[in-house]
Symmetry: C2
Subunit: 335 residues, 2 copies
């Protein structure tokens, strides 16, 4: 069986050019005992892949020129020599940037393509969606009628989180940087969106937004940012407020000497709970998540925003398009 796959011609920094990519046709091996052969149907392009193209080793290995790249993919099993998968099953894998592949069944993840469109497992039903869900359901335990502040509302976690919180019956105030991102948050259902770049008093802006939407105050804060956002959250949260922290992106590049919020004593004064988490520790929620999500999508409460390019040869264009703003929502390539 033949498959086309995308290689880098060289590692690079700076502007991305189509010349850095080439398509090659290869022969796919027959599956051995314990292996499956899969035809990819959907391929993901993600901004983080940019770092792997530079050739510099960070927390993941760099992509090597002349070899197939990796990335999220959803495909259909066409041949199986594993008890785990039957022909016709859909699987999520990291064997993206290629049309087909053969690999051990162990380490793949089965997805239910009857419940949700298969490509959603690369976006809203995938890791970013589950991260949003875990934070809201388990860490915050968001209740109907409560008010949530979703930070980084236009990000991968934020766009899911806004929709899920609305579907759960909460009021949502989103923050994002710039008018366009705030418009997106409102379009996704946020009751209010605050442009943090356009205010010098974030706490005051959040309190005003809460009054504007008839909320009695902020019950919970979804922390993706840190820094001035966390400081404002500690100030505006109500008694017994909850903070789910899955990222403090403003802090990642800091020198260690950058001080934390000066109002941390609010945790004691208002009996707040703040909890950090990583999604991998809460994979047990995935089943409930997929069930809730399919219900919400069928009821029209949650939509998967996608921009779709067709054909493996469009992978470089799709990837480059991420950085020139060609996509609304999740950028995908349909094989």
């Amino acid at each position: 069986m033949k498959s086309r796959e995308v290689h880098l011609t060289e590692n690079f920094v700076g502007e991305i050019k189509p010349d850095y990519f080439e398509i090659e046709e290869v022969e796919i091996a027959e599956p051995k005992e314990g292996e499956v052969q899969v035809e990819n149907e959907w391929l993901s392009v993600d901004p983080y892949m940019r770092g792997r193209m530079t050739g510099v080793k960070t927390y993941v290995e760099p992509f090597e020129p002349g070899k197939p790249m990796e990335g999220g993919a959803v495909g259909r099993v066409v041949k199986s020599k594993s008890d785990r998968y039957a022909e016709g099953d859909y699987v999520f894998s990291m064997y993206g940037w290629r049309e087909a592949w053969t690999a051990p069944a162990k380490g793949l993840m089965k997805v239910d393509a009857d419940l949700l469109p298969p490509q959603t497992y690369l976006g809203i039903a995938g890791m970013p969606g589950l991260t949003a869900y875990v934070g809201l359901k388990r860490i915050i335990d968001l209740k109907e009628g409560e008010t949530l502040w979703m930070s980084a509302g236009a990000g991968a976690v934020g766009t899911s989180g806004i929709q899920f919180a609305k579907a759960m019956g909460a009021k949502v105030i989103a923050t994002a940087g710039g008018k366009e991102k705030c418009d997106l948050c409102r379009e996704l259902g946020a009751d209010a969106a605050v442009d943090y770049k356009a205010t010098d008093n974030l706490a005051k802006a959040i309190r005003q937004a809460a009054r504007d939407i008839g909320s009695s105050g902020i019950d919970a804060y979804y922390e993706n940012v840190g820094g001035d956002h966390l400081q404002a959250a500690l100030d505006v949260l109500k008694q017994y407020g909850r903070i789910a922290a899955c990222g403090m992106i403003a802090r990642y590049n800091d020198d260690r000497s950058v001080p934390g919020p000066s109002n941390l004593v609010q945790i004691v004064a208002k009996s707040l709970k703040m909890q950090g988490f990583i999604v991998m520790d809460h994979i047990d929620l995935n089943e409930a998540f997929v069930k809730d999500l399919s219900g919400w999508m069928m009821a029209g409460k949650v939509t998967s925003k996608e921009t779709i390019y067709e054909g493996i040869e469009k992978m470089p264009d799709a990837f480059i398009g991420l950085f020139t703003g060609e996509n609304v929502g999740k950028m995908l390539v349909k094989v």
Copy 2:
């Protein structure tokens, strides 16, 4: 019925003198419908009372010269015109600094003098003890074999917390200021005690203490202090560590501009949980607490440290003694 009670002769600041107190004999009214008459058996003197003697209104009303002062007391009901109490019942009240009193039954708290010695309800079985218990049981959920760092180990909450954590099967590292306080912590059962005044690297000293007692690291931190203690805790806590915060005393007098810990991102990096609480929100645990505490005391695992003066006329001496270090453990007056 006659009762002697202690009055202030005047409000004062600075050094406390016996002249500021006088004993007066008064007639106690017969109880009316819904009231009880109680003979106090145990009276509490506490450092916080000092503030109420200055005549300055803070978060509580100041004591007025010529009137009976207030304070924790445990007494026996001698006459009851209330369904809530029978003669012979023991009650905790704030009608201290006097031998006997008549008051509405509503607002008193019944205590079980068969389960625990009545005076313990002013100390280890009272609010400081319950605060320690709630933090360990509900907020931290301390498990057998885990290692707890108890800050302010020689304080009212700390002395209880060290003993309770040991009774729960945990290893305990206590911190306190000075050799004497550290000796007290060890005497109460702490596996290690670190004098925070004698180290310029608290995190390193805690890690060393953990190694010394054969612990694999700090699972939980009981926060009473804030500041450099919290910074060190965020550094030394293991993955999934829990922080119970019932006070950050180092922060209470701070100007708002004092920065928080620079390593708060550890909450995300190590999936930590930090939760503030006040004991009044967890009064539902009191029954389980009294039951556990009586079991621990009968088994000799927990002891109530008390210094006892006898007679209402010794109340001023007992109170003054608090500030000259006359007490080991809880300072009490037996009527």
